[in-house]
């Protein structure tokens, strides 16, 4: 089952590898991204962060959706990771079992709407669309942090 669907530009990092997996009993970290699937070095370095006893998988967005909706998706306690809002929208739209999106952060050259979260206008539209599906989107870098809904932060930021 899908225990967490998380968006963070770092994908696997300390908070995911240790805190999320330990707190939720995750036994599969699924990285969903169209570019990384073909980047052998990036895959090697990301999997070094996977803790002992936890499996990992790399999938394109299309294959990731298939995996999560298929019988494989039932076999594991899955944490699915994306690193951008467009992928978050595609996956959460296509996977009914996803009920909310937690956000660790996106650091990039765009207006900052919340600590560790920079979004351009396109990102904001993507996240609003996820929320309109009835799936809340909120900041939650670790399970020890409270889920802070992004609703009120998603107005177009001042330029």
């Amino acid at each position: 089952m899908i225990k967490a669907f998380h968006m963070d530009d770092r994908l696997i990092h300390g908070q995911v590898a240790i805190s999320w997996t330990r707190s939720l009993g995750i036994n599969l970290i699924l990285i969903i991204n169209d570019e990384i699937v073909n980047d052998e070095f990036r895959k090697m370095s990301l999997k070094l962060g996977v803790p002992d006893g936890v499996k990992y998988g790399f999938r394109t967005v299309e294959k990731g959706i298939e995996f999560l909706n298929g019988s494989d998706g039932k076999k594991y306690n899955i944490m699915a990771l994306v690193n951008n809002t467009a992928d978050a929208l595609r996956v959460s739209t296509a996977v009914p079992e996803i009920t909310k999106v937690t956000v660790g952060g996106i650091r990039k050259n765009a207006p900052q709407v919340y600590e560790s979260l920079c979004l351009d206008e396109r990102d904001i539209e993507n996240l609003k669309e996820i929320i309109s599906l009835g799936k809340p989107v909120g900041m939650q870098p670790t399970p020890g942090n409270k889920f802070v809904s992004l609703d009120k932060y998603l107005e177009i930021p001042n330029k």
Binding site: S19, K55, Y56, D72, T142
Partner: protein
């Protein structure tokens, strides 16, 4: 009850708790003791006494210290006679996180074992791992 103490030379003990808090989102569960260059043995003992005196004498205490043979490790070692105290040296961030996420009900011997093995397992030569490129956990 079980209590955790991180002890080091200088700012490491508090800093490693701050780092653990950043990764885990949890804070305020462990106590830290830092020893400065000019602190006398008595000053350090005073600081240790102050930390330990808040806890009932029968309570379990696990101390993670920076280095074997170091001043604060040596001073804490004296307390093994009088308190229900276990000490593990060579603290690293993985060990603090292992302690933080540990089930408070598991026996102390098991906890010590898991923290020691976590500490050892966290020391890796990344370049060698990249060459190995082990894929047995891939799905």
């Amino acid at each position: 009850m079980r209590h955790f103490l991180i002890a080091s030379h200088g700012p490491l003990s508090q800093a490693i708790l701050d780092s653990a808090s950043l990764v885990s989102g949890r804070k305020g569960e462990f106590v830290s003791i830092g020893v400065e260059m000019n602190d006398s043995r008595e000053t350090v003992r005073g600081r240790v006494n102050k930390a330990l005196s808040g806890w009932p004498p029968e309570d379990e205490i696990l101390a993670l210290t920076d280095i074997i043979g170091g001043n604060v490790t040596n001073i804490l070692t004296d307390y093994i006679k009088s308190r229900n105290l276990n000490i593990i040296t060579g603290v690293n961030l993985g060990m603090v996180l292992e302690a933080l996420f540990s089930d408070r009900d598991i026996p102390m011997e098991e906890l010590v074992e898991s923290i020691v093995s976590m500490g050892r397992a966290g020391i890796k030569h990344i370049n060698s791992l990249l060459i190995e490129n082990n894929e047995e956990d891939a799905v």
